[in-house]
């Protein structure tokens, strides 16, 4: 697992209070990990803070799963 992937998953475990075994790439924040709309916004903010990136709202709306978050952050960090 990449460093970014590990950190993203740790944040999700912390913020959503879920077991780390559940945080697989295919897991949807809302359908599988019990997040509501506020939780999702908070997660995105935590990613921004942790990786020192900006995720605009229109892009944030496309991040629905753990894998999508990792991919987006990977890309954003590379381009930073």
């Amino acid at each position: 697992m990449s460093d970014i992937s590990a950190k993203v998953k740790a944040i999700i475990v912390d913020k959503l209070g879920v077991d780390e075994n559940e945080v697989v790439n295919e897991a949807s924040f809302t359908n599988d990990l019990g997040a509501d709309s506020l939780d999702t916004v908070e997660l995105i903010m935590e990613f921004e803070k942790e990786f020192n990136i900006a995720i605009p709202d229109d892009q944030a709306e496309k991040i629905g799963t753990v894998g999508e978050a990792v991919a987006h952050i990977d890309e954003a960090v590379k381009n930073a």
């Binding site: 209070g17 506020l38 908070e42």
Partner: protein, 413 residues
Amino acid sequence: MELKRVVVTGMGTINPLGNNVAEFWDGLRNGVSGAAPITRFDASKQKTQFACEVKNYNPTDYFDRKTARKYDLYTQFAIIAANQAVKDSGLNTDEINQERAGVILGVGIGGLETFFNEVHAYKDENPKFSPFFIPKMIANIANGMIAIEHGFKGVNYTTVSACASSTHALVDAVNYIRMGKADVIISGGAEAAVNQAGVCGFNSMRAISTRNDDPKTASRPFDKDRDGFVMAEGAGALILEEYEHAVKRGATIYAELAGGGMTCDAYHMTAPDPNGAGATNVMRQALEDAGLSPEDVDYVNVHGTSTGLGDVAEPKAIINVFGEHAKKLSISSTKSMTGHLLGAAGAVETIASILAMQNSTVPPTINQFERDEEVPDLDYTFNVAKEREINVALSNTFGFGGHNATVVLKKLS
């Protein structure tokens, strides 16, 4: 319209003397002080470095980690007290008419810790707030969460009147039930302001005691050397129920909430009317509302916060209302032990008054060392609890803004 009667069928509390009703009563009758050095943050640079905090509190004993993180401390306390009260009442919340079940709590400030932390972290160059900032901080959110927990879909709102907040909540709840608009209401209040903003804010007003060398004797209502109140935190919740509704389901009835009063000093932003005019009116109004005369009253749980002005004005008001009978009353300020729970004070002190009634024991006003000649000479139950049959009790609370609220409790005959 004939008014319904309202009774108390459940109680719950988490406060500096105990994390449930039994522990609370144990502390009250034994004259225990809840004051100690502040543990919630580094208070070493504060003028006041102690408070009455809730003891042995670990949020995850009550909530899962995610939930605990979403609730400000005041909301956590409110839910804990409400859940205890519902359990104590034996109500089957699935079987009652949920649309006639409500929640009316009083909260003086609300999520002050959340407000402080979030505002503290804010930066103009990257303006962001947590999406939970608003819903976690607002003073009514505890009500909403309690309604979800128990499925109560009737009347639901929060009263805000500083340190009179939860007494206003109780009086409002009584009136709803009396008018036949609700069968059951979870009422009471919660507060959690022992944080940098709360302590420093009250310090600047010179409202709180700075007796850092001896916290346990700092809350000393009516004592000559009193130097302000002691901040406290926690919650109290009562199940108020329409009398017939309670009887029909065979509920244990603790007391009748026979009436209440609500007035305003219209005098000063924070200081009480020195002659206790507002306090006089509120007690008179409450007794009239309950259909009782001053001579019926045995016990008054006073607001008595351990401040210079308030501790003189309130006894004057008691003499105005009760005349000769004032000397026969048992009076106590349980704030000498619990500290001042601000918006939650009225709820916790109403519970204290009911416990006093149940146990025929007047809890003491601890920390009386030297008599203050300015304070009218009445029976304040100094230092040790006293056995006494209590049939009618009054509980007073007064708040910044000149708010006065009083409830009248009656043993059910």
